[in-house]
């Protein structure tokens, strides 16, 4: 019963996962909630375990990353070991998971709810949902996809419940990747970007550059921020991102394109200075 006391409205979240028509319970105990939450793992789309294997993290160093598998695939052995350790009561294993994903969960949650504190509550409830759902985790998707699905499922409901919810932004189809004024009337560069070739690695990847990119990501519309966070900051495959955020491949790419274009634009003046 400790968990129910540690977080305020856990009972409501349990109720949100209840079958349609179920009564709205409040402040019910952790064990009861656990029964409802055990279904959380089945809310996600079923992925085909016999499909193409996970392609792993995108290798950004390659000119063209390998194309993604169409389906995210089953959980890797590491995930199953982590789950087994947590189920055995290994505190460090759970803490490791929290350290690994908490910041990204927060960034993604901000896409659904209006305030930082609401996002923190959504993430706290996600971790409780993870604990309650773990005994029924079957490894049909990776652990991280499964965790983010729990967040998204309950953050959407939370966002709807709060009147301060952030509306889903448009895909931004009409946004240009580059300021149109930098092109000549014939569409060629009038003011081209500078090559990065001569810039040393430690300058390219400096703490200042990381801070600029992080700040640019924070300024993005919600969906764009979610996609670039998972795809480029976390290094997920596009298939995993699509599954976690429930997006079509085309929409995901449009969101990613807008996000990356804006972040590059924000980094450009830093790169120009470094090249000079």
């Amino acid at each position: 019963m400790v968990a129910a006391g540690a977080f305020g409205d856990v009972g409501e979240l349990g109720a949100l996962e209840a079958p349609a028509g179920g009564e709205r319970r409040r402040q019910i105990g952790a064990v009861e909630v656990g029964g409802l939450w055990a279904h959380a793992g089945h809310q996600r789309p079923v992925c085909n375990a016999s499909a193409a294997p996970e392609t792993g993290h995108c290798e950004m160093l390659l000119l063209v990353p390998p194309p993604d598998a169409d389906t995210p695939g089953a959980a890797p052995p590491d995930d199953l070991r982590t789950v087994a350790a947590i189920l055995a009561g290994d505190e460090r294993a759970f803490e490791g998971l929290v350290d690994r994903y908490n910041a990204s969960l927060l960034r993604v949650a901000r896409g659904y709810v209006g305030t930082r504190s609401a996002a923190e509550e959504a993430v706290a409830d996600t971790w409780l949902g993870v604990l309650r759902g773990l005994p029924s985790f079957e490894g049909r998707s990776s652990l991280r996809t499964w965790i983010f699905r729990i967040l998204v499922n309950q953050a959407i409901t939370r966002g709807v419940r709060e009147s301060r919810s952030v509306p889903f932004s448009s895909l931004g189809d009409d946004e240009a990747a580059v300021d149109p004024e930098r092109f000549l009337p014939n569409g060629a560069w009038g003011s081209p970007p500078r090559p990065v070739d001569g810039i040393p690695e430690d300058v390219l990847l400096s703490a200042e550059a990381r801070a600029l990119v992080l700040a640019a990501i924070a300024e993005l519309p919600a969906q764009q921020r979610q996609v670039i966070t998972l795809r480029d900051v976390e290094g997920w495959s596009s298939a995993e991102v699509r599954e976690a955020l429930d997006l079509s491949g085309g929409n995901q790419r449009v969101l990613l394109h807008r996000a990356r274009s804006k972040v590059r634009a924000q980094l450009e003046s830093y790169l120009d200075e470094a090249a000079a």
């Binding site: 950004m60 189920l87 803490e95 690994r100 910041a103 014939n186 390219l204 990119v213 480029d232």
Partner: protein, 86 residues
Amino acid sequence: MKLLRRRHGLACREVVELVTDYLEGSLDDRDRDRFERHLGGCDGCAAYLGQMQVTLRVAGRIEPEAIDPVFRERLMTAFRGWAEER
């Protein structure tokens, strides 16, 4: 990609809109070939792609933010309660 159906070569303004499709491997062979041919003869677009790749590498090096200690303690308390219940 409608842009690529045209007969003439790609304009730089069009190339920058295809960079993500290119990097994500979602252009077909013919379109990728046209994209790369443009890049081979255009320093501006090559520099643009270079900047984009740097952007992605920087994004991939962002460290997870430290967790608020109070938040962490709440979570770990919840974990211990959960583990005891099991």
